[in-house]
Every structure is written in structure tokens, then in C-alpha cells.
Subunit: 234 residues, 2 copies
DNA sequence: CGCGTTCTTGAGCATGTTCAAGGCCAGTGG
DNA sequence: CCACTGGCCTTGAACATGCTCAAGAACGCG
């Protein structure tokens, strides 16, 4: 990992720290920011580490997950450019989750104390954060519902829809994210073997196409029908 | 249902609207408040109803849940005196969840617009709400984890621990909440029959005692061991 | 006291997990 | 450039778990 310079003014990511008019504040933000560049499969933070900073993703994809005692993880979300990271540490001394990069990534860190003070001085941003938390809570409760009530086929379809919504596809409908079967299943709430079997099943029904480790979505509407039992993330 | 007078000054519930020093603001809060008194098993609001107010529970217990298309519900939380209700409607036009009383209850309602303005003028309370959301998100993510990874025995033990932590017991270790098997299973993430079987099992192991519809906790530590695989709500 | 609802329990069944074997692919070193 | 190796993916078979269904019991509300 290494740290380098990156100006908010040059950054395209739609992050919360954007859109401050106060020039003095912008300067302060630049001053307090540290940029962390890391390659694929690096651990960003781990459960029970003290929370010293709140971060925003500049580029790459980060998985946020909880570790079970048997080593089986549960992935809470995949975060991308513009997303806040470590926000769950706001009210706690130690991280309640872990985060690892699944692609080469760069992240902007702000000291937690600074961030909290900053929120106090910028009520509009604090309010946006509040709305974001409310939205996050909604998504988390939908996940609860889906994990509690869907069967495996529905869970796999729902995960495909989530990946499609969150990361999108290129012009050939190829998902802009590549996951191992293990990561896929840790998010979907099943095992890697089941994911493999159900994805093969979807392929034989021509709903998707498996090309190396990539997934091409052929029939989005059919997948929606399969997952239609559940509620959808947005 | 009927509406009646209830002054914040006389109220013991630890709600967010407490602890304002500004007398003018206190007067305004009283002015905008509506009290709703309802008996057991009343619907407070329903998915897809427009969100007109944000509420606080004065007394009673309310279940907050999502409805599946097959009629099987998933209970998100049981809320009690002092808890905020309908906060998930803050960022949405329509409620994403439903709420029903499972005991006779009374609830203080504030118009949503007023509440949002109030937050803007009381940044300390807005910050407390932000911390509350962060905490809620933590609990919801723990529930995700538990639903994804626990077996039924662990889920039932975990639910008992949750009820014990949230509602406590009287001096005889009798839980201060009485649930139907259906509500219990809708929270735990299994079926009513499984709950019945596992509770009987726990009784035969002397971990709990079933007395009518009440549950008496004998061996809290043993239950903790059973659920120890998972993470715990706080 | 009677009736409807909820709870309990067992049996059969469906679903999903685990385990294991084999194949594929990418990276490495000769 | 090719063979080797390790990791990941796929697939089937055996097994475990939990769900559904059904019948009887207990409870609680007129």
C-alpha cells in the first residue's frame, strides 16, 4: 500500500465531501485527507480494530463483511467509487465489520474526530448522511427479509439483480464486477457449490451466460420474475 | 383508537424529544404533538401508506415488520417505550415496513415536516438520531449475519437473548414480553412449529420454563453458549 | 361450558449442505 | 514454449436439516 496526492477538485466520484462552497472548508478537507492506494485482496480494516478514520472510495471495489467463528463470512455490501467506508464505526470505538479490496482500489481517509466536527459544522452534509443511513437501513432490512424467506434459487437471482443495479453492465450486458463463487455465496447467503449449480441452471435456461469468471445477463426480466417473491434493493 | 393529551414533562419514556432546554421549542413540540392510544393487535401503519408523521412510543410494544407475498411476515424489531417509530419513512414517501401493536399502546406523533425542520434547528438531537441510525444499522447487519449463518436452535436461543436484553425479566426471570409462536418465528427466521419444538427442547434441558404463554429464563449463560456462534445484538 | 384459536408433536418430504472427484485455468519455472 | 502445480469451479451422491402437513391437546374468550 502507498499514500499519494489526489485532489477533490479533480475527482469524479460522487462522494459526500463534495459540493461544499466554503473555500476555507475545502482547504481544510484537503489538508486532513490521506489517500490510500491498495491492490487486489488487501485488508483495509478488520473487526475489532480501533476506528481512527472515516473513508470514501475513490476507485475500485471493496467488500464489507462480518467473520463467523468457523471462518464463513457474511458479506454485507460491495462498495464502489463515491461510497462511504467505515461509517459504521461512527458510533463505536472498534469496527464491527471488516473490509477488503476485491480490485485495485484507492481510498480517501479522514480522521474520525475531524469528520465528526466537520459534520457539526456542515448540517446539510450531516443531513445527507442521515438520509444515507436511513437508506442503508432500508437495504439492510430488505436483506434480512430476503435471507429469512427466499430459497437458494431466488437468492442467487436476487444477488445477480443487486450486482446489476450496483455495478451495471457493459454494452454486451457483461457485469462490471467479477466475483469468486465464494464471495458470491457469502453475499447471497448460501454455499459456493449451490451458487455454481444455480448459475449453471440459469445458463442452461439462457437467462445468463458464463464466460470465464464473468457473467453476462441475457434475460434481466426473467431473473426479476424469479426473485419477484422478495423485495428489491435499490 | 383515540387521541388524548399527554405532556412530555410528565412522561417517563427516554425519548429523543427529551432534554431540550429551549422553552420556546418545548412549547412548539407540545403544540405539534398528537397522541394515539390503541389497543392490542391494531395496525399503526402499513407498507405503502404515505409517511405523514414520525412517532415515539409512550407505552406498550409495537412490532415492525415486512410482509411477504405469501403472507409470511418478517419481524424487523419489537419497539418499546421511548423508541422512535416510523423513522424509516424519513427518506421515503411511503412506509417500507408495517407496524402493529402487540399490547395496548400509546404513541406520540409529530408531523414529518415539523420533525425534519426540528432536526435542522437542533443539531445535537440530529446527531443523536444519526448515532441511533448507526446503531440500528449495526443491529440489522448482525441480524443479517445470524439469519444467514445460524441453525434453528441457535436462532431460537438468540431470539430469547434478544427479548431478554430488550424487555428484561421480572424478579422470577419471567420475560416481560409475551409472543405468539408465529411472532416469535417471524422474528427468529423459522417456522412456528420449529419454535415450539426447540422451546420444548430447551425446557427439557432446564434452560427455560414454559408457563402458559410466558417464558421463564433459567440458564441465561447456557443460552448464550448455544447462540455463541453468532454475534449478539446490544 | 363450548367453540375457535393456538400450541405441540410426529412423520414424511423437500431443500440445501457437505464431501469428494475430476476438470479447467492461470501463473511459474524449466 | 511447454509441462507442472495449485487454486477455483463444476457436478453428483449421500446426508442433514428444517419445513409442511396433520391430528390431538390445551388454552382462552365469550
Amino acid at each position: 500500500m502507498n499514500r499519494q496526492r489526489l485532489l477533490c477538485a479533480d475527482c469524479k466520484a460522487p462522494c459526500l465531501m463534495k459540493g461544499i462552497n466554503d473555500l476555507e472548508a475545502v482547504k481544510k478537507v484537503e489538508e486532513k485527507k490521506t489517500v490510500l492506494v491498495c491492490s487486489k485482496n488487501q485488508k483495509i480494516f478488520h473487526e475489532d480494530m480501533p476506528v481512527n478514520s472515516i473513508s470514501f472510495i475513490n476507485s475500485g471495489i471493496i467488500k464489507v463483511y462480518k467473520t463467523g467463528i468457523n471462518g464463513k463470512n457474511h458479506i454485507i455490501r460491495f462498495s464502489r467509487a463515491g461510497d462511504i467506508l467505515g461509517h459504521r464505526g461512527l458510533n463505536t470505538e472498534y469496527y464491527p465489520v471488516s473490509a477488503s479490496s476485491i480490485e485495485d482500489s484507492s481510498i480517501c481517509l479522514f480522521p474520525k474526530d475531524f469528520f465528526i466536527t466537520f459534520l457539526g459544522n456542515h448540517s446539510r452534509i450531516a443531513f445527507k448522511l442521515l438520509m444515507f443511513f436511513s437508506k442503508e437501513l432500508e437495504n439492510s432490512e430488505i436483506m434480512q427479509f430476503n435471507l429469512a424467506q427466499m430459497n437458494v434459487r431466488e437468492k442467487v437471482a436476487e444477488t445477480l439483480l443487486y450486482l446489476n443495479t450496483t455495478f451495471g453492465t457493459d454494452k454486451n450486458n457483461r457485469l462490471n464486477i467479477t466475483l469468486s463463487r465464494q464471495d458470491f455465496s457469502d453475499y447471497a447467503g448460501t454455499t459456493k457449490e449451490q451458487v455454481s449449480k444455480i448459475l449453471s441452471e440459469f445458463q442452461s435456461e439462457n437467462l445468463i451466460l458464463l464466460d470465464k469468471k464473468d457473467i453476462i445477463i441475457n434475460e434481466l426480466n426473467e431473473l426479476k420474475k424469479i426473485a419477484s417473491f422478495g423485495v428489491h434493493l435499490s
